[in-house]
C-alpha cells in the first residue's frame, strides 16, 4: 500500500520547500520552534524513519532582529547596546568586537589598563556563558541538578560583573577607547575570591557529572564532526577544538593583550560531543588562569583614553575584526564612508556557521542523539 501522507501535509512555506529523500514510509516532523532543547527559537524539519533521522533541515530567523540594518540607521554610539543582544550569553565579547572594530579603523590606542579590564571582564563573562551551557546541556540530556550548581556560580559572577558594568546580562560596558568606568579594589578582591572558589568546584563537577557513565553514554561517540567538515562549514570555537584543531583567535590572531598571558588551548581529537564538552570544561579553567594573571599584572593608568571620541567618525575604508567568543569566532566587517554611522556592518555569528553543519552531522542518528548534538554545538541563534 502506497500511502503517501506527505501529500496531505503541505504545511507552511518551509515544509513545502523541504526536499525529502526518495525513501518510502517516512514521516516528516517539525521540531520547534517551541521546543525545550532548541535553546531559543530554532525549528528543525526532520524526515524520520522510525527513530532515525534521514534528513534534517534547520529553519532559522525566528529571532532575526535586524541588527545589521540597525547599524546603518543608528550612529556608532547609539549602536553600542545592540551587539550584546546579538549573543546574550557572551555579550561582552560582542560589545568588545564592535568597539574594537571601530578602534581599529580609527587607529585608536586603548590604554593598557583598559585592555586588562576588558580581558578580565570578558573572561568572566565567558565563564558564565559556559556555565549556562553546561547546565542547559545537561538539562537537555535529562539531568536537572547540575544546572543548579551552574547557576550558583553564575549568579556570583554576575554579581561581580553587575557592580562594575551595571547590568546582569546584556552588557554595554566598553566604550570607544576604553571602558565606561574603572574597576576598584572590591572588584579585584571579589574576583580573586570567586576564582579560588571555582577551582575546587571544577573537580566536583568532574566527579559529579563528567565521570558519570550515564552522561558518557549520551555524549561519547555521538555527533562525530571530522576536522575537515569543520573547515568546510567554517565552524569555530569549541566545536572546532573538540575536533582536534587547536585554533583559537586569542592565539592565532592575538588581539588586545592576550599575547602576554600564559594559557593553554584545550583540544580533543575525539571529534564527538564529549570532546566539545571537555573543551568547554577546560576552557573555564583556562579563563580563570587568564583572569588571575591579568589581576596580578594589572597596570595603573587610565581606564579610558583621555580624549576618547564620544561620537566617532572613522575614516572611509573597511576593516575586519575577529575575536574569540564563547561559541567561536566573532567577526565584525565594518565598512565606513566617513560618516557618523557605518555604511555597512556585517556580523559573523559563530553559532550560525556551527549550526549549518548540523544537517550533515545528524544524518542517520537517533532523534535523542540529535538533541545531544544540538546541545553540544552550544547555539545562540542569530
Amino acid at each position: 500500500m502506497n500511502l503517501d501522507l506527505r501529500l496531505d501535509t503541505s504545511g507552511d512555506f518551509y515544509a513545502r520547500k523541504f526536499q525529502p529523500t526518495k525513501r518510502e514510509d517516512t514521516l516528516i516532523l517539525n521540531m520547534g520552534p517551541q521546543h525545550p532543547s532548541t535553546h531559543g527559537v530554532l525549528r528543525i524539519i526532520l524526515e524520520i524513519d522510525g527513530e532515525y533521522i534521514l534528513r534534517a533541515e534547520p529553519v532559522l530567523g525566528y529571532i532575526h532582529r535586524m541588527h545589521e540594518k540597525m547599524a546603518e540607521v543608528m550612529s556608532y554610539p547609539q549602536y553600542l547596546p545592540n551587539p550584546a543582544r546579538t549573543d546574550y550569553l557572551h555579550g561582552l565579547a560582542w560589545n568588545w568586537a564592535h568597539v574594537a572594530a571601530v578602534e581599529r579603523l580609527m587607529g585608536l590606542e586603548v590604554p593598557e589598563r583598559a585592555e586588562y579590564i576588558r580581558v578580565i571582564t570578558c573572561e568572566l563573562n565567558r565563564i558564565t556563558s559556559h556555565l549556562l551551557w553546561w547546565g542547559a546541556y545537561l538539562l537537555d540530556l535529562g539531568a536537572f541538578t547540575p544546572i543548579m550548581y551552574a547557576f550558583d556560580d553564575r549568579e556570583r559572577i554576575q554579581d561581580i560583573l553587575q557592580r562594575i558594568t551595571g547590568s546582569r546580562l546584556t552588557y554595554c560596558y566598553y566604550r570607544f577607547g576604553g571602558v565606561s568606568n574603572d574597576i576598584d579594589d572590591r572588584f579585584i578582591e571579589e574576583t580573586r575570591k570567586q576564582c579560588s572558589r571555582m577551582k575546587p568546584r571544577f573537580k566536583m563537577f568532574k566527579d559529579l557529572v563528567t565521570d558519570n557513565f550515564i552522561l558518557r553514554k549520551r555524549v561519547e561517540e555521538i555527533g562525530e564532526i571530522p576536522a575537515d567538515t569543520c573547515r568546510k562549514y567554517g565552524a569555530t570555537g569549541p566545536v572546532l577544538r573538540g575536533s582536534g584543531v587547536p585554533y583559537d583567535v586569542r592565539r592565532a590572531e592575538p588581539y588586545s593583550v592576550y599575547d602576554r598571558f600564559d594559557f593553554n588551548i584545550p583540544s580533543y581529537d575525539t571529534c564527538d560531543a564529549m570532546g566539545r564538552y571537555l573543551v568547554r570544561m577546560d576552557e573555564m579553567q583556562e579563563s580563570i588562569k587568564i583572569i588571575e594573571q591579568a589581576l596580578d599584572t594589572l597596570p595603573e593608568g587610565d581606564y579610558i583614553m583621555p580624549k576618547a571620541p564620544k561620537k566617532p567618525k572613522p575614516p572611509a575604508g573597511d576593516v575586519y575584526f575577529a575575536l574569540e567568543g564563547a561559541r567561536g569566532k566573532i567577526g565584525f566587517h565594518l565598512v565606513s564612508d566617513g560618516d557618523k554611522s557605518p555604511y555597512r556592518l556585517k556580523l559573523r555569528a559563530p553559532g550560525f556557521s556551527n549550526l549549518s553543519l548540523f544537517s550533515e552531522v545528524s544524518e542517520g542518528v537517533l532523534i535523542a542523539d540529535a538533541v545531544s548534538i544540538l546541545g553540544s554545538l552550544d547555539l545562540v541563534i542569530p
Binding site: 568546510k232 592565532a252 573597511d318 565598512v335 556585517k346 549549518s356 553543519l357
Partner: protein, 188 residues
Amino acid sequence: MSEENAKPEKAPDKEKEVKKKEEPQVPKYTGYDYDCFLAPQELLKAVTKLDHADFFLEDVSCVDMQEGFQVVYHFDRFSQPGRVVLRVMISRENPEIPSIYDIFPGAAWHERECFDFFGVRFTGHPNLIPLLLDPEHQGPPPLLKEETALKDLNQLYPDRVHTPVSPDSEEFVKEINNCSNQKSRNQS
C-alpha cells in the same frame, strides 16, 4: 593619531579640521592580509585554490554601492592564520554570481542571507529560499540602500586598486600561500 580624533580644543579648532582633511587616517592593520578584486566568472577558480590551500570560509557578505553589489568573501586558515578577502563586483540590474556551495557547503546559509538582504542570486545554489526573513516579507530586500545614499568605490575605499586580479596569476598563488597575519602586522 588619537589626538586628531578627539574633540578639538577651543583655540586650534580650525587648524585641526584642516589637518584632518589633508591626512586621512589610515588604520595600521585592517585585519586583511591579502585583499583582491576578482571578476565574477573567475570566482570559482579562486575559491578552489583557496580550498586546496586549506582555507576555511568565515563569511560571505555584500555591500551595496553605486557600481553595483560588492560581494565579499572572507577566508582564514587554521594552520597559518591569515585573512584573505575576495571582492567581486556585480551589477545592480542583474545581480547574479556563481554559488560556491559545491566547494564550501558552509557558504549555503551565508549566500541565502545575502539573497534575503540584497536579492543577490547565487546561480547553482540548491536551495535559495529566505533564511532569516519572513517568507511573506513584502517589498524590496531590506538592506538595499536608497539611490541617494549610495557611495562609489573611491569614496569607500580610497587609495586602493580596484582592478580585478586573475586567480591564475603567480601573484595570487604566491600571496595566498604566504598569507599570514604575523607578517603583515610586523610590516605595519
